[in-house]
Each structure stands twice: as structure tokens, then as C-alpha cells.
């Protein structure tokens, strides 16, 4: 298992380096149109994965799209984990009516299926926006709406620490509530926080891909895995052009690597 994890880490590292070095590996850029060539051209020395229907280099778009998804999904996961830590830890630590209120709030968020919630809130915001605004809106939404499940886990963790012997002892020795929270509760919740952060990343990558395919994700011309996968809608016309499946392959490899890095206990936590 350790070797598999190391292999998964290596794969993620390779994908990450390739996406960060997109400007080196694909100097043409993601929005340059090669008008002297046919659109939807096959792989060549110039365009390793051919060109798309607007004559843009598909390899460059895959690398830049990977960069967008791979950098912003962890950022969204960080935001949602911080929100979850704030709500969940405080609710579990303070307890009583505040805990009940916070848990009712998380229940409200969890009573709607995740994709449905995303779709609804995304629809409230303008759809006809610039590419960079759409990226920010998409990943901010993921971060702001994805905290509820993690908050419940963190609340349970904080509650069990609050009821533990060492916290009782610390309180008996007159330690302040703020110091108790910062020095004893939060450090003990660190593994749960980290697990929730890692679990959120693949969930957000997949959610962005789903939104992109449904036309509610990152807007053109900026690529992301979601917008690149929209090409699959015309898969029936591909007739053996399997290089078009590279974005999907990359996404599956990346998400699988994240899943492998997490141990079974963390996933089922």
C-alpha cells in the first residue's frame, strides 16, 4: 500500500509540474488559433494532441486546463475546510444551543444534493461573464458551499475532545476557554482537518468537471477539465480519435491518485 501511495504521489507531482510548466511545454498558449491549419486536426509534431474545432492547440489547452483545476480545487478545498473548521469546531467545543443551531444549519445545506445546490446557486449568478470571473465564481462557490459535511465531522471530533479527560483536567486547572481551544482542541483536530481537506479536493475537481460539461462552469476561452470534457458530447463523431480522451484520462488519474493517497479510514471517516 505504501508503494501505491508513493506511486500516486509521483503521478500527482508529475501532473502538477507539467501543468505549472505549461508555458514552457506549450509556448503557443491556450487561446492561440492556428488558422493556417484545419480545425480538429490530428496529432502532429507541432500539435501533439492535434487542434480543437477552433484550431487551438489541444495539448496547450490540456496543460493550462490542468493548471486551473489542479491549483484552484485545493484553494476551494482550503476555503471550505477553514469554514468547516470555524463552524464545526466552535459548535462541538461550545455545545448546547449553539451546537444545535450550527448542526441545523449544516442539515439545511446537506438536505439538498450537492450538484443540485451548486446548480441552483450558480444559476443565481450571472452566466454571461468573462472567463476569469467565471473561474473565480465557480471555485468560490465550491469552497463556500462545500463545508457542511466536513463541519459535521469536525463538530463530532471537537465534541469528543471536549468530553475527554485531559480537557476536563485542563479546565479544572483554570485554563481559559480560548487557550484551551487554541492549545488543546485545535492541535488534536489537525489530522481530521487534513483528512477533510484532502477528501474535498477530488470532490471539487469532479464537481467542476460536471458543472463544465453542463455548461455552467469555466467560460471560454479559458480551459479547465470541465470545459475540455465538453468536447466529449460529440464523442459519437470521433471515429477513433482517442487522443481527445486525454483530458478525461488525466482527470481520472489525478482523482484516483488523490483517492489512493487517502487511506481507507480517512475516506470513510
Amino acid at each position: 500500500m505504501k508503494r501505491i501511495r508513493q506511486f500516486a504521489c509521483g503521478l500527482l507531482l508529475a501532473v502538477g509540474i507539467a501543468s505549472l510548466g505549461a508555458s514552457v511545454f506549450a509556448p503557443a498558449g491556450y487561446d492561440t488559433q492556428f488558422r493556417d491549419e484545419l480545425p480538429n486536426a490530428g496529432p502532429s509534431k507541432l500539435h501533439w494532441l492535434g487542434t480543437d474545432d477552433l484550431g487551438r492547440d489541444r495539448f496547450a489547452r490540456v496543460l493550462y486546463g490542468t493548471r486551473v483545476s489542479l491549483l484552484l480545487a485545493p484553494a476551494a478545498a482550503l476555503l471550505s475546510t477553514l469554514l468547516a473548521a470555524f463552524v464545526g469546531t466552535l459548535a462541538g467545543y461550545i455545545g448546547g444551543a449553539f451546537e444545535k443551531l450550527a448542526l441545523a444549519g449544516t442539515d439545511l445545506f446537506l438536505s439538498l444534493p450537492w450538484l443540485f445546490l451548486l446548480l441552483m446557486v450558480r444559476a443565481m449568478l450571472p452566466l454571461n461573464v468573462s472567463a476569469f470571473t467565471s473561474v473565480a465564481v465557480t471555485f468560490l462557490l465550491l469552497g463556500l458551499l462545500g463545508w457542511a459535511a466536513s463541519a459535521r465531522v469536525l463538530c463530532a471530533g471537537a465534541r469528543s475532545i471536549r468530553n475527554s479527560d485531559f480537557v476536563l483536567l485542563a479546565r479544572a486547572s483554570g485554563i481559559s476557554r480560548a487557550r484551551l481551544l487554541m492549545r488543546h482542541v485545535l492541535p488534536n483536530l489537525k489530522p481530521v482537518l487534513l483528512a477533510q481537506f484532502w477528501i474535498s479536493i477530488p470532490v471539487f475537481i469532479l464537481s467542476e468537471a460536471n458543472l463544465g460539461i453542463l455548461g455552467l462552469g469555466v467560460a471560454e476561452p479559458l480551459p479547465s477539465w470541465g470545459s475540455l470534457l465538453r468536447e466529449l458530447e460529440s464523442f459519437a463523431n470521433f471515429s477513433g480519435e482517442y487522443w481527445r480522451l486525454v483530458p478525461l484520462l488525466l482527470l481520472v488519474v489525478t482523482v484516483t491518485s488523490f483517492q489512493l493517497i487517502l487511506s481507507r479510514d480517512e475516506v470513510t471517516a
Partner: protein, 287 residues
């Protein structure tokens, strides 16, 4: 039991009211709420445009807006869809049975596959089979549901199979872990050592122990199926609630979205309540 049911119903009603208020708040303050494409229609007279403006202005206050929505909803009037130009009630009435059928078939396929794989992997205890089942379920977890739906369009396979695979992938690992824990219990190890039949152990000793938790996971999977029904219906061309929600989102049909949000919330809460009550009945019977 009756007290428990009424507590659940009260909770559903409260969640619905709060959820509705949240949805109404989002809609009221969504960019573009105050404008209407009709106001730019040159065929309309200035009086008509003024009437439209006043109609919008009347919805300006959030609580007034929500109160009007609730009072109309009680009378069965859920508003008018702007994009499809039809009453929301009619649209939901037409499409709800399609989604329910799709979800029922998908859940049956998903639960059957998950139970089959989980039981076989737990009981067979063959490393290769264990790895294979985990890998298959893991692979489906790593594929976006929209891509899976597209694959089923390409294969000309029914959409409920895609939904079933998504449910299977999400449910399998939890059921597998629950069954693993149950099979490791001392009384089950003793039963196996005494040579009790596999089916008898499963039906009389394992399921009574883990039944309530298995049901809880099944309840959650209804919510997963509802979420997955959006890409499946949208991409497979199935005219259900998921496709309607997608069309409403693309067209920013906000009144339709509020109704669909409330409907999906009711469905999720009812599924969770049912699984909770069944689990409770299971535990009571065991005790």
C-alpha cells in the same frame, strides 16, 4: 414511534421553510432580478412596461416576496416558468414520475450491485476479488457523473444503468466496511466455526446487526441519485426533474428553480426520514 414520526415531520417542515427562505433570499438578491427582458420589447406600450415594473417592484421586499410565494404554493400555484412559458405545477407534474421511475430503477441496480459485491468480497475473502471489487467501485467514483452519462449515451444504454453505477460506487465501500465489521464479531465467527450456512449467517446474524446502518447508507444514496439525475437526464435526453433543473439554471428561470429546490429538499428529507424510521424499527425488533 408516533412521536418520532411527528418529530421528523416537524423537522422536515422547518427545514423546508428555512430552505425556502434561503432560496428566496438568493433569488431576490440575484443580479438581474429587477430587470425583465419583456421591458425591452418594443411592441409593448409604455403602460404595459410600467405595469411590469410595478409588478417587479411589488416583489422588492424579501419577506413580502417569500410570503406571496408561500401563500400561492399552499393553493397549489407555484408560479409560471419564464423559459418554458408554462405553469411550474404542470411541468413538475409531468416530469416527476419520469425522475421517480429513473431513480427507482437506478437505485435498485446500484443497491443490488453494491450488496452483491460487498457480500461476495466480505465472505469470499479472496485478495484478488477484494482488490478487483474495490478497484471497480473506486474507478466509477473517479469518473464525473456527466462523463458516465455521456458514455451511456454513446453506448445507447438506458440512463438508469449510469445512475445505478454511480449509486453502486458511492454505497459499496460503506456497505463493505459495515459487513466487514459485522463478520468480525465474535458470535459470527463462532457461527462460522460451527459450520452454519453462508446464507443463514447473512440473513440471521449479519443483517440484523448491521441492518440499521445499511439502511442509513441506503437513505443517503437517494440524495446521491437525485444529484446524479441532473447530468444523466440532461445528457441522456430524459425529460425529468433533473433536466428541468438544468434548463432552469441555464435560462436563469428563478421561480422554477425555487420550486424545484423545495421539491428536491422534500424528496431528500423524506428518504432520510424513511431510512431513519426503518432503522429504528429494525433496532426495536432486535431488542
Amino acid at each position: 414511534m408516533l412521536a418520532r414520526i411527528s418529530r421528523h415531520l416537524l423537522r422536515i417542515a422547518l427545514t423546508l421553510l428555512l430552505g425556502g427562505l434561503l432560496a428566496a433570499t438568493l433569488i431576490r438578491y440575484a443580479p438581474g432580478f429587477d430587470t425583465d427582458e419583456q421591458q425591452m420589447d418594443s411592441r409593448l406600450s409604455s403602460e404595459s412596461i410600467e405595469a411590469l415594473r410595478q409588478q417587479r417592484a411589488a416583489q422588492g421586499n424579501l419577506f413580502h416576496f417569500y410570503g406571496r410565494f408561500l401563500s400561492s404554493a399552499v393553493r397549489g400555484d407555484f408560479g409560471h416558468s419564464q423559459t418554458l412559458n408554462r405553469p411550474v405545477r404542470e411541468l413538475v407534474g409531468e416530469r416527476l414520475p419520469v425522475t421517480l421511475r429513473l431513480m427507482t430503477c437506478g437505485l435498485v441496480v446500484g443497491w443490488s450491485l453494491a450488496m452483491l459485491f460487498a457480500v461476495s468480497a466480505t465472505m469470499a475473502r479472496i485478495a484478488a476479488w477484494d482488490v478487483a471489487t474495490t478497484a471497480v467501485a473506486g474507478l466509477f467514483l473517479c469518473i464525473p457523473s456527466a462523463v458516465l452519462a455521456l458514455a451511456f449515451v454513446f453506448l445507447r444504454a438506458p440512463g438508469y444503468l449510469a445512475l445505478g453505477l454511480m449509486v453502486f460506487a458511492n454505497v459499496f465501500r460503506y456497505w463493505r466496511n459495515l459487513l466487514d465489521k459485522s463478520y468480525a464479531m465474535p458470535h459470527i465467527i463462532t457461527a462460522r466455526a460451527k459450520g452454519l450456512g453462508t446464507l443463514r449467517i447473512l440473513l440471521y446474524h449479519v443483517l440484523p446487526v448491521s441492518g440499521a446502518q445499511l439502511l442509513a447508507v441506503a437513505g443517503i444514496s437517494v440524495s446521491i441519485a437525485l444529484g446524479a439525475s441532473i447530468p444523466v437526464e440532461a445528457l441522456c435526453g430524459i425529460p425529468g426533474i433533473g433536466q428541468l433543473a438544468w434548463q432552469a439554471a441555464l435560462g436563469r428561470d428563478l421561480s422554477l428553480l425555487v420550486t424545484l429546490t423545495l421539491l428536491v429538499t422534500v424528496m431528500t428529507l423524506l428518504a432520510n426520514t424513511t431510512s431513519d424510521l426503518l432503522g429504528q424499527a429494525f433496532r426495536t425488533q432486535r431488542a
